[in-house]
């Protein structure tokens, strides 16, 4: 039988696809680092007798080719949309909500980690000989649960936070951010649409709730001037790989007070809490306090005599810390994931009026660095 045109089309199409892909693998320039994944991609494996014989070369080459497939973002996105359209979002880490919002799937209660971390907070209070404040921040998904499109597992942030607070047995002052957030008519504005963090507005709400609980003065929201940086696409955007999701503005709230920041990376005072040059980077969230640092000190010379706050925290406090500096002379932020010295040493050097442990619920349920607190 004579070959028909469609046979030619099939064969040539298939071979061309494989051939072009193979050629692109060989000749396309390769990136070493994936901004979206925040990781270095696999390096080209070196062929040695040993690596070949052990089969290691084969494995490494597969990892390498998988990391560097031409048009990787396109294919990853295509797959993400195919999965979404087939209805499987409930099995994924990220859910889609109304208004192009991407939120993390519900945090699962982790009895072991919860017990350990609450005990760590207790130990910290004992070591410092001071009652500490505990603030657990609910997740973005909880805030917009009724706006999630399609199937979603239930968010139990309220129950989990209440349970955690009950576990402290009043040995810590618990800060009820959740109720303050629940009172908002539009909870969506408390969190970014493409990132798991709270917005500046959300952080301000948490700050005011905390200050009210501490009977401290705090400026009204209207006192802040807001500048807007466009084009923010955060962590849930990267993780969902639904690339057509539009970017969103990122708000920087600023008052007249002059704040000075020293972080463990440079050890040089920086004027202002915003590192605006970092808005040009892929990860714009680092505009707040220069991203994650082991220890950050914010000084407000106008607040002399208003005391100091020590915050044991995760990245949510990158945005909260600057607000606290409006009410204290000094705010010291310590991230136990990077800071490995004893906290007691810090407290020997200076007296802290208030000690706050501030974590997102998701991190509090998974982070195992808190147990090293001394």
């Amino acid at each position: 039988m004579k070959a028909k045109t469609e046979h030619w089309v099939t064969v040539v199409g298939f071979c061309a696809f494989l051939g072009v892909a193979a050629a692109l693998y060989l000749f396309l320039p390769r990136s070493e680092y994936s901004e979206r994944e925040k990781r270095y991609l696999a390096k080209s494996p070196t062929l040695t007798i040993d690596s070949l014989v052990s089969g290691e070369y084969g494995e490494d080459l597969e990892t390498y080719m998988a990391d560097h497939i031409p048009a990787r973002d396109f294919f990853v996105g295509l797959n993400a949309y195919a999965d979404l359209l087939s209805g499987r979002q409930v099995s994924k880490e990220i859910y889609v909500a109304e208004e192009n919002r991407l939120v993390e799937a519900p945090v699962l209660w982790n009895e072991v980690q919860a017990t350990k971390n609450i005990a760590a907070v207790d130990r910290l209070a004992k070591a410092l000989d001071q009652k500490v404040d505990l603030m657990i921040v609910p997740s973005a998904g909880w805030a917009v649960e009724d706006q999630i499109i399609g199937l979603a597992d239930p968010y139990t942030d309220k129950e989990q936070i209440e349970r955690l607070y009950a576990m402290t047995n009043d040995r810590a002052n618990t800060v009820d951010v959740l109720s303050a957030f629940a009172a908002e008519s539009d909870r969506g504005v408390l969190y970014y649409k493409t990132d798991h963090h709270w917005t500046s507005f959300g952080a301000y709400k948490a700050y005011s709730a905390y200050m009210a609980a501490k009977d401290r003065a705090y400026p009204a929201a209207e006192e802040f001037a807001v500048t807007v940086a466009d084009g923010f696409q955060g962590s849930t955007y990267s993780r969902a790989a639904l690339w057509l999701t539009p970017s969103e503005p990122l708000e920087l709230w600023k008052r007249t007070s002059r704040l000075f920041v020293t972080n463990s990376k440079t050890n040089q005072p920086h004027e202002g809490v915003f590192y605006t040059e970092r808005l040009n980077e892929a990860d714009k969230y680092t505009v707040f306090l220069d991203g994650n640092q082991a220890i950050v000190r914010i000084e407000n010379p106008e607040n002399v005599g208003k005391g100091s706050a020590l915050v044991i925290r995760d990245s949510y406090a990158n945005c909260l810390g600057p607000f606290l500096a409006e009410s204290y002379e000094t705010v010291v932020l310590v991230d136990p994931r990077y800071y490995k010295q004893p906290i007691t040493e810090l407290c020997d050097k200076e007296e802290f009026t208030d000690v706050l442990v501030c974590y997102s619920l998701g991190n509090f349920m998974t982070d195992n660095n808190l147990v090293w607190l001394k």
């Binding site: 469609e6 046979h7 494989l18 080719m65 294919f75 209805g87 997102s360």
Partner: protein, 461 residues
């Protein structure tokens, strides 16, 4: 190397196709042999020695049988020696650890012996069975002896069917090894078949495996049933997808392998199921074990014994663990019952009863097949048959995967194929099918690319 890997799709396959078609006809077999050996040695190069040894041993035994036969005597003994050698190879690499562990439990003096930890050489169950089929086919004059060791080596290692079948019997491909005709039409149909197989694996089997895994962590009777339905679908699409890819790749190089699956889940009896599931394996056992044992020609008691032997072996072939033996014997019992009276009963009942019974029997069979740990097996059976409420997460998973479960159920029947065959053979339809294959292939590459996409967000928190 797996077909659904980047190395295979974007390095191995383009290079073997290129070199194969650029080579003159005389050296195409050696080219296939060379690439097949590379394919085999990719994961565990050390087992290349085993492969080459297996080829050499069987080549020599084949020639020896042939010489003995031309001399008139002794061929049977040589055949027996050859078969035993193959079984020893398989026994050592696949079953030694299992047997030593069992003996240790039985015999106190073996307590000090360490069970050998042998990594199962990939595809050994398949290529040892192919080698045995060669020796038996030569002995029976079903196929001529292969004089050329390279051609014989190619038959044993041919990469499309090397690691997961179909088990190609030597008599079925003997003539194709030397006289086959590659053609544009065959190549094109091979491409389509390969893509359909890849689609079955990446777009249906993997998600079904995913939901089965997720549902095992949830509670409730419904979760257990939907879970085992998903596993039933996963194992079919995984295995038949692999066979489709093998058949498709074979066609790209001019080979025609026999079909390995024929919509097994539409069977009305378990007997029919085994005529439609992994056909090449059942045929192998029928041809080389069941019939030589006397099959059904020596009276009912003997037939029952034969069935037990064949199905015990079939079960054990799937893995060195008690549950596989149990799974095989479970089918022996069902097949014996069907032969004794069940088939007659089923014929009198409405057709759907037979389908329901077969599907249920097969699904419960897969439960035996999945759980290697007898304790877990019991727990899962209890879950299936004790009514308990299903939690909301499980309901969400069932609903979320619902569309894909439905698509998979339909794809496991010949509905789509029949519909496609009934369509008029117009240009529009033919190109439509081609376009569908293109879309499937793109989605497959997307699924493959996504496996490596792991946003590392630790630094973000």
């Amino acid at each position: 190397m797996l077909f659904s890997s980047h190395v295979f799709l974007f390095a191995f396959l383009p290079s073997v196709l290129l070199v194969y078609y650029l080579s003159p006809r005389q050296i195409r077999i050696p080219v296939l042999l060379l690439w097949s050996l590379a394919f085999y040695g990719w994961g565990e190069p050390i087992y290349l020695f085993l492969m080459i040894g297996t080829i050499a041993i069987n080549y020599v035994f084949g020639a020896w049988i042939n010489t003995r036969q031309s001399k008139g005597s002794g061929a049977k003994g040589v055949l027996a020696a050859g078969v035993v050698t193959n079984l020893l190879i398989l026994g050592f690499f696949k079953y030694a650890g299992f047997f030593v562990t069992q003996l240790k439990a039985l015999l106190p003096f073996m307590a000090g012996v360490k069970a050998p930890q042998i990594a199962l050489p990939i595809g050994i169950s398949f290529y040892v069975f192919q080698s045995m089929s060669y020796l038996i086919d030569v002995y029976r004059h079903d196929a001529p002896v292969q004089k050329n060791v390279l051609t014989f080596g190619t038959y044993v290692t041919l990469f499309p069917q090397l690691i997961a079948g179909p088990i190609v019997r030597y008599s079925d491909v003997a003539s194709q090894m030397t006289n086959r005709k590659e053609s544009m039409e065959k190549f094109a149909s091979g491409v389509q078949r390969f893509i359909i197989g890849l689609g079955k694996k990446l777009l249906l089997a993997n998600p079904m495996g995913n939901v089965w895994e997720l549902l095992q962590e949830q509670n409730g009777t419904a979760a257990a049933w939907v879970g085992i339905i998903a596993y039933t679908l996963q194992i079919y699409f995984d295995f038949s997808g692999y066979s489709d890819m093998a058949i498709g790749l074979g066609r790209m190089f001019g080979f025609e392998f026999l079909e390995n699956f024929n919509y097994p889940y539409i069977s009305a009896t378990v007997t029919e199921f085994w005529r439609r599931w992994h056909i090449s394996l059942s045929t192998w056992f029928k041809e080389y074990v069941y019939i030589p044992l006397g099959g059904n020609r020596k009276g009912l008691p003997r037939q029952i014994v034969n069935l037990l032997v064949v199905w015990g072996l079939t079960g054990f072939w799937h893995g060195a663990s008690w549950n596989f033996l149990l799974w095989g014997l479970y089918y022996a019992v069902l097949l014996i019952l069907e032969k004794l009276f069940l088939l007659k009963w089923l014929q009198k009942l409405p057709k759907f009863v037979g389908h329901l019974y077969s599907l249920l029997a097969v699904m419960l069979g897969w439960v035996l097949f999945f759980f290697e740990d007898m304790g877990q097996l019991g727990v899962f059976f209890a879950k299936l048959f004790t009514p308990t409420a299903t939690n909301v997460e499980a309901v969400n998973l069932i609903l979320g995967f619902g569309p894909l479960l439905l698509v998979s159920c339909v794809a496991a029947t010949p509905l789509l194929k029949n519909w496609g065959d009934r369509l008029q053979n117009t240009k529009f339809i033919r190109y439509g099918k081609l376009a569908a294959c293109g879309v499937i292939f793109f989605l497959c590459v997307a699924a493959l690319a996504s496996n490596s996409y792991n946003p590392f967000i630790y630094f973000r928190f």
